[in-house]
């Protein structure tokens, strides 16, 4: 079990740790991919892909 002093120390450090880890994560993504996407861009890309289908031009002789 954690003693109260340790627990308080950890809780104080949590936002700093989280910010640092997010920054490191962003750096890794920037290094491994060409660009980063915001949530809105991700949603828009998915929406566009859903509307980007094509139908077969080939028609079966049996169906015509």
């Amino acid at each position: 079990m954690l003693d109260p002093v340790t627990a308080k120390l950890i809780l104080t450090a949590l936002p700093i740790l989280k910010t640092a880890i997010f920054k490191v994560g962003d750096m890794v993504i920037d290094l491994t991919t060409n660009e980063t996407m915001t949530a809105e861009e991700m949603i828009a890309a998915l929406e566009q892909s859903k509307n980007n289908w094509e139908d077969f031009k080939f028609e079966s002789p049996d169906k015509t």
Binding site: L17, I21, F22, V24, G25, M37, A39, N52, E54, F58
Partner: protein, 131 residues
């Protein structure tokens, strides 16, 4: 010494938890990119198959088979993409997106099956496409 050890363990656990939270947003981005890329591959297969059907390289049965697989994968993709959009929106709104991501994972699993089926059929029929 005991106190130092407990502090070390707690900090390690905290790092692990914080890292998982930090990666959550990134995995959404990675999933989106991979997912949209799969849609591009499906379109390439479709175009190549359509050309082969129109040119008479594939017979009627083969064209129906790949057309059916493409339509199944298309429906499955749209359902999974909609679920992913909902999960991203939930995360952005500060809501608990866990159940939304779980729903997406189920639909993604179903999509993987029909997507792999489409690729298998394309390879079997000799449909040449670029990835």
């Amino acid at each position: 010494m005991k106190r130092l050890l407990s502090l070390l363990i707690a900090t390690t656990m905290l790092f692990t938890i914080a890292f998982q939270f930090g990666c959550a947003g990134k995995s959404a981005q990675t999933s989106t990119k991979a997912f949209v890329a799969a849609q591009g591959t499906m379109l390439e297969i479709f175009r190549a198959a359509d050309r082969s059907c129109s040119a008479g390289i594939l017979n009627q049965t083969q064209c129906d088979k790949i057309s059916s697989a493409y339509n199944k994968a298309k429906s499955s993709y749209n359902a999974a993409a909609t679920a992913m959009q909902a999960a991203i929106r939930a995360g952005e709104a500060g809501k608990d997106a866990t159940s939304a991501w779980e729903k997406f994972k189920v639909l993604e699993g179903q999509f993987d099956l029909v997507y792999n089926d489409l690729i298998d059929i394309a390879i079997t029929l000799g449909v040449e496409y670029t990835q």
